[in-house]
């Protein structure tokens, strides 16, 4: 194949560079600003380091402020996103597998209801869910955020499509003839064959829960149950009275963004394969 002419290559490279500048500038600002004190945050040029950067001092301040509440928020976020995503993945896998592999009456009705769930905006549900949970006494507990996080209609959708294509009926029949029970077949064969789809569902749900703001905001009033996002906005809310919190918010934002960005970059290929799960080679 002939390479495109130099002129095109230059145009392409410059367009890509401009786009990269746009996407990276705020991240660069965050890195620079996480080394600044509150005074420098306001007093020095945002795109360059101040005269006395204190990257480690800032991070220690963030982690030790208010008896280390930041670490607790971080752990909460991990708990919500980790446990929520694992449960959501397993539940979706089982439901998707059954919807793909067992013909039963009402199957399409069930599937269509779940599909409609994909299109219902999550935040429109969050308020009624709060009213419901608070009437059940569940609001302002870990469960209030965890339980809704375990449900992923989109996950069921992906798992069904994937299972239909990737789990051969002949294999299931063979296992049945060998006398294996359905649960065992699912655990040993189904889950293994569906692994690529499961990784995708897990990632989607993990990021979805980690980024979710509305649900914890309406559900939680006890700041010890907050995930990071909620905690940081509460710091910002107090920073008028306590300006050092600006610096802590920026530092905290930096700390919280690093692990997720690493995760994104390392697992990029799973996002790619995952999103076209509809195109598994059937």
């Amino acid at each position: 194949m002939t390479r495109p002419p130099v002129r095109y290559r230059i145009i392409t490279a410059s367009l890509l560079t401009v786009a990269a500048l746009y996407f990276l500038t705020p991240v660069y600002w965050l890195i620079v600003s996480s080394t600044k004190s509150s005074a420098d945050l306001f007093g020095t040029f945002g795109f360059w380091f101040s005269g006395h950067p204190r990257p480690l001092g800032n991070l220690t301040d963030v982690l030790t402020y208010d008896h280390g509440v930041y670490a607790r928020w971080f752990a909460n976020s991990l708990l919500y996103a980790g446990i929520g995503a694992v449960c959501a993945t397993l539940l979706s896998a089982a439901a998707g597998y059954a919807l793909a592999k067992f013909p039963f009456r009402g199957r399409e009705a069930v599937f269509n209801t779940v599909l409609a769930g994909v299109l219902v905006p999550g935040t429109a549900l969050a308020l009624p869910l709060y009213f419901l949970f608070s009437s059940m006494g569940l609001a302002n507990t870990y469960w209030a955020v965890l339980v809704p996080s375990m449900v992923s209609p989109f996950g069921v959708y992906l798992c069904r499509i994937y299972a239909a294509a990737a789990v051969p009926d002949s294999l299931l029949e063979a296992a049945r003839i060998d006398g294996a029970g359905e649960a065992r077949i699912f655990g040993r064969l189904g889950l293994r064959l569906m692994t690529p789809a499961l990784v995708t569902v897990f990632l989607f749900q993990f990021v979805h829960i980690w980024n979710n703001y509305f649900l914890p905001l309406v559900m939680l009033s006890d700041s010890r149950l907050y995930p990071i996002q909620l905690g940081l906005t509460s710091w910002i809310g107090f920073s008028d009275r306590k300006p050092v919190l600006y610096q802590y918010t920026v530092g905290g934002a930096f700390l919280s963004v690093v692990p997720l960005m690493v995760l994104m970059l390392v697992l990029q290929r799973y996002w790619r394969t995952g999103l076209t799960e509809g195109s598994v080679k059937a």
């Binding site: 067992f102 399409e108 935040t123 429109a124 009213f131 703001y213």
Partner: protein, 326 residues
Amino acid sequence: MSRDTLSRPEPLARRAPDGARPARRGSRTEARNARAAAGFVLPFLALFALCFLAPIVYAVYQSLHKTERTGPLGLGGQEHEAFAGLANYTHALTDDQFLAGFGRVLLFGAVQVPLMIVLATALALLLESASARGIPFFRSAFFLPYGVPGVIASILWGFLYVPGISPLVKIAQSVGWDVDFLARGTVLWSIANIVTWQFTGYNMLVLIAQLKSVPEELYEAARIDGANAWQVARHVKLPLIRPALVLTGVFSIIGTLQLFAEPKVLRPLASSIDSGFTPNLHAYSEAFVGNNQHVAAAEAVLLALVACAASFVFLRLVGGRGKERG
């Protein structure tokens, strides 16, 4: 053949080989099937019912009721729920602030969603046609903001918008451009910028995945036929990524209607953002500031209805033309 299942779920039932076939395996297998399936589906369905169906039912119920207080001037005394008919809906639909919020997100969606998808498509096509060096770097750079939650992104951009702190404003002023990102007329587009920044790379990745699933020979054939890079992109690649475009379109529309975190975080910085800037913000304020659950429930129901209607209309609009390639 199944490349477009994501956007068009209907053919699935026909495709799933074991399900669509009329079962003639005897009622014993059928019963066994049903039992096994129930064991797998019920745990999910129970939680789905609790977290999706129940809140919808409860919201509809609440939206049709109101709290009445007995006692002098309606103060103190006993509280009880009374049927309110459509009063809460009338209240919401005659609330100028709520309607203005709806208008705002619709305007936002009409501008930001196409803009973002065009940008994502352009970047995907550029990356796919560029020579190999540097591509992984660019792809990662574009995708990186997706790892930044909406709240953090808004805090970040907030610092880049506020006059006095923002280096962007400083740079603009030094070249004589007096810009205010948070003014009444511009703040909506400043929010649009945050959303675009966050999600363009993600949508780009979806599109690249779709492009990659197209056999390379197809592009080669077009090139041999004398098509230049632009023509290949326009006439071969674009039609092929249509399903992914539809998918990103639907999710972007739903996302836009739910706009909440960005205006909520920017609100203390911008006086032009009021408590009803978006429908979601309005419902939230009704529930927690105005302490009016019933109106908030009605607004949540309206929001869900509009979101469903919008995505349905969108799918109809774009789906009609996709049918011929089945």
